[in-house]
C-alpha cells in the first residue's frame, strides 16, 4: 500500500476545518481561492486536471469524475446542468451529511469549479429532506457565497454566470439513484429512467447533465488548489486520493476518519480504539448495506476499489458498519431486506416482487420455521433478481443475503435447530449491561 509521502495515516482535507469555530461560515472558510484560480484556466484544462488527479466518484460506483465531465457534448446547444447528489441514504453511509453540516462552503466552491468546467450556468444540490439543520447550513452557504460575489452574474469579472438551487427531497432511498433523482428534481415520482440515453447526453430536462456525489464535488477545490499530482500522491495505483471512512457499530470510537484510499479495516479499527471492550469483529459492510458482507478474514484487504472488489465485495461509500459476535446475522440481513422491500420503487417486477418474497422467506427462517431448503430458495430468488432488475437497488438487495449465506450458513441452520433466534438482542445494544452475553 502506498501512503502519503509524509507517512501520515490520516490525511484530513475535507474534514480539516470541522473543529473550527463556526466552520460553516464564509468568514471561517476563506475566499474561494481555488475557484478564482479555476477562472484563470480554460474549462477544458480544469477537466484535464480532475482527470489527471485520478479522482473517482465517491458516491459508490467509482466512475472517473473527469471522464464523466468530458462526456458532456459541448456542441449541444441546450443548457448544461450540474446536479449534486446529496441524498445520502445508503444504510451505513454517514459522510456527506456531516460534511455539509460543518463545511458547506467546500461543496459550494466545488460546485462552482465543476460547473465552470462543464459550462453549466445552473446547478442543483439535491439533499435528502430528513436532515433539517444540514439543509439550513447549505442554504445559508449558497446565500453567503452569492452575497460575496462567488455566485451570480459575471463572477469576479470572469464573464461566467452561475446560480445554485438547494432542493430538499422528501424521503425516498431510490432518489439517490441518479436517474430517479432527476425524476424527483423534475417534480415526479422517483423512478429510474432507462439508459441510454445517459444523463451526460439527456439528463435534467433532457439536457446534458453531470451528476456527482457530494464528496466527489467537495474534493475538486483541493485538486485545483494543489494540483493533480498532489491528489494522486495519496491512495493506491488505481484508487487515488483520500476519502472519508465512516466507522459505525461495535467499535470503541465510531466516527469519521479521512485517509488515503487503500487503508485497511485493521488499521482503522486500531485508530478507533479497537472493537468495544471484550468483543470481536464478526461481520462488516465495506460500503453500505448494498455491498456484500465481509468478515474478520478480510481485515487486511486494502480499502480501495480494486482490493475490495477482489475480496468479493465493493468499496461503495466506505460505510464501514461493524458488528461483533453478539449480533445475529440473520436478524441484520432480514432488516436490510425489509428496507429494500420498503424502498423498491415498484417499477420492475424482479425487484418489486422479489424483495417481497425474500422478506417472506427470510422472516420464516429468522423465526426458526421453514427448512434448510429455504436457504437454496433464497439463493435462487437472489439469482432471479441480480442482473435482472431495472436498477442497482434490486442488485444491492441481494448482497447481504448471498454473502451472509456464504459466510454464515451455520447460523441460519442454528435458527432452524433451535426453533428461533439463538441470540439475545439486548447483548448487542450500546446499553447492554456489562455482563450480558449472547
Amino acid at each position: 500500500m502506498t501512503t502519503a509521502p509524509n507517512q501520515s495515516v490520516l490525511t484530513p482535507v475535507l474534514t480539516k476545518n470541522w473543529g473550527d469555530e463556526q466552520s460553516w461560515k464564509l468568514s471561517a472558510y476563506g475566499d474561494y481561492a481555488a475557484a478564482k484560480k479555476a477562472f484563470g484556466m480554460q474549462p477544458d484544462d480544469v477537466i484535464t486536471a480532475v482527470k489527471d488527479s485520478g479522482l473517482r466518484g465517491r458516491g459508490g460506483a467509482g466512475f472517473p469524475t473527469g471522464m464523466k465531465w468530458s462526456f458532456i457534448p459541448q456542441d449541444n446547444p441546450k443548457p448544461k446542468y450540474l446536479v449534486v447528489n446529496a441524498d445520502e441514504s445508503e444504510p451505513g453511509t454517514c459522510k456527506d451529511i456531516p460534511l455539509m453540516m460543518a463545511n458547506p462552503h467546500v461543496l459550494v466552491e466545488g460546485v462552482i469549479i465543476s460547473s465552470y468546467a462543464i459550462r453549466a450556468n445552473k446547478a442543483f444540490i439535491y439533499i435528502r429532506g430528513e436532515v433539517l439543520h444540514v439543509i439550513r447550513r447549505v442554504q445559508a452557504a449558497v446565500a453567503e457565497a452569492h452575497a460575496a460575489g462567488h455566485l451570480g452574474k459575471d463572477i469576479h469579472g470572469s464573464g461566467y454566470d452561475l446560480d445554485i438551487v438547494v432542493h430538499a427531497g422528501a424521503g425516498a432511498y431510490i432518489c439517490g439513484e441518479e436517474t430517479a433523482l432527476l425524476e424527483g428534481l423534475e417534480g415526479r415520482r422517483g423512478q429510474p429512467r432507462l439508459r441510454p440515453p445517459f444523463p451526460a447526453v439527456a439528463g435534467l430536462y433532457a439536457s446534458p447533465t453531470v451528476i456527482n456525489n457530494v464528496e466527489s464535488i467537495a474534493s475538486v477545490p483541493s485538486i485545483i488548489a494543489n494540483g493533480a499530482d498532489w491528489f494522486s500522491s495519496m491512495g493506491t495505483e488505481k484508487s487515488k486520493g483520500f476519502g472519508i471512512f465512516s466507522l459505525s457499530g461495535h467499535v470503541a470510537k465510531p466516527g469519521q476518519y479521512e485517509a488515503p484510499l487503500g487503508i485497511t479495516l485493521r488499521k482503522l479499527i486500531e485508530l478507533a480504539g479497537g472493537m468495544r471492550a471484550g468483543h470481536e469483529l464478526k461481520f462488516w459492510t465495506p460500503g453500505g448495506s448494498s455491498t456484500p458482507l465481509l468478515t474478520a478474514e478480510h481485515l487486511d484487504v486494502p480499502l480501495d476499489f480494486e482490493g475490495v472488489g477482489e475480496a468479493g465485495s465493493m468499496l461503495g461509500t466506505r460505510a464501514l458498519q461493524l458488528f461483533d459476535e453478539t449480533t445475529c446475522v440473520v436478524r441484520a440481513v432480514l432488516r436490510w431486506t425489509e428496507f429494500y422491500k420498503h424502498e423498491s420503487c415498484g417499477k420492475c417486477t424482479p425487484c418489486r416482487e422479489g424483495t417481497w418474497w425474500l422478506t417472506q422467506t427470510l422472516s420464516r427462517l429468522e423465526q426458526g420455521q421453514g427448512s434448510a431448503e429455504d436457504l437454496d430458495l433464497l439463493v435462487d430468488q437472489c439469482d432471479n433478481i441480480l442482473g435482472r432488475s431495472f436498477c442497482a437497488l434490486g442488485d444491492g438487495a441481494t448482497s447481504p443475503i448471498t454473502s451472509s449465506i456464504q459466510y454464515f450458513r451455520e447460523e441460519y441452520l442454528a435458527h432452524l435447530e433451535q426453533g428461533g433466534c439463538p441470540f439475545d438482542p439486548e447483548a448487542s445494544t450500546v446499553f447492554a449491561t456489562a455482563g450480558a452475553k449472547a
Partner: protein, 215 residues
C-alpha cells in the same frame, strides 16, 4: 387554508427552476407547513400553479414518505430501526416509545403533541442509536433518554438537538424544507463528537495531508 400569501410563495418556489414542475417537492413541503399535512386543497393549489392535474400531484405526494396524509404531531419523532441502529438499541427504543406513548407506528398521541414513526438510516450511524425530532438529530439515545425526550416535548419544555438548534415545530421545519430560512442556521455546533474523532487523532499524531500549494 391556502391563502394568497401561500399561493404567492408556492409560485415563488416554482419560479426557482427552469421548468416550474421542478418545484413540486418543495411546494408540497410548504403545503405541509401551512396545512399540517397534504390535503386535497393543497394538491389542487399545486396542480393549478404547475398546470398539471391533481392526480399527477397526488401520485407524487404518495410516493415520498415525508408527505403525510394524516395530521402528525407538533413533534414528529423518528426512531431509526435500520439494521445498525436497530442492533445498537433502536428496536428497544422504538418498542419502549410505542408503549410509553401508547401509539403504533405512524400514529399521534391524543393531545396531538407527538407522532411516532420508525425511520430508515438517517446518515448518522456513527451516533447510533439515532432518533430524529422534526428532522433534527437526537444522537446516541437510550430507551430512558428517549422517554425523557418525548416527555419534555409533551410538557412544552425547550428541547435542543444534540447537533443543532432548539427544536421548532414540525410545520416550521417543513417551511425550511420549502426553502424559506428561519434564521437558526448558526445555532448548534459545526460537528458532533463522532464526526471529529479522526480529525482529533490526526492532530494528536501530527498527521496531515501532503503539503500543497495552498498551505
Amino acid at each position: 387554508m391556502i391563502d394568497q400569501k401561500t399561493r404567492d410563495e408556492l409560485a415563488e418556489i416554482a419560479a426557482r427552476y427552469p421548468e416550474k414542475r421542478s418545484g413540486l417537492l418543495p411546494m408540497l413541503h410548504l403545503v405541509q407547513s401551512v396545512l399540517g399535512q397534504v390535503t386535497p386543497e393543497g394538491i389542487e393549489a399545486c396542480a393549478e400553479i404547475l398546470e398539471i392535474t391533481p392526480a399527477e400531484v397526488s401520485g407524487v405526494a404518495t410516493f415520498y414518505t415525508m408527505y403525510k396524509r394524516r395530521p402528525v404531531g407538533d413533534y414528529h419523532v423518528g426512531v431509526c430501526t435500520n439494521t445498525l441502529c436497530a442492533v445498537m438499541g433502536g428496536d428497544a427504543i422504538f418498542a419502549r416509545l410505542k408503549d410509553h406513548l401508547d401509539v403504533g407506528n405512524d400514529e399521534t398521541t391524543e393531545d396531538g403533541k407527538v407522532s411516532l414513526e420508525h425511520i430508515e438510516c438517517n446518515a448518522a450511524c456513527d451516533y447510533a442509536p439515532v432518533m430524529m425530532v422534526n428532522w433534527e438529530f437526537m444522537d446516541n439515545q437510550t430507551p430512558s433518554s428517549a422517554v425523557q425526550l418525548v416527555d419534555d416535548l409533551r410538557a412544552g419544555k425547550e428541547v435542543r438537538s444534540t447537533r443543532g438548534p432548539k427544536i421548532c415545530t414540525w410545520r416550521e421545519a417543513e417551511r425550511v424544507l420549502a426553502g424559506f430560512s428561519d434564521g437558526l442556521v448558526d445555532e448548534g455546533p459545526a460537528a458532533g463528537e463522532a464526526s471529529l474523532v479522526g480529525l482529533k487523532l490526526a492532530a494528536d499524531k501530527g498527521w496531515t495531508a501532503p503539503k500543497g500549494a495552498d498551505q
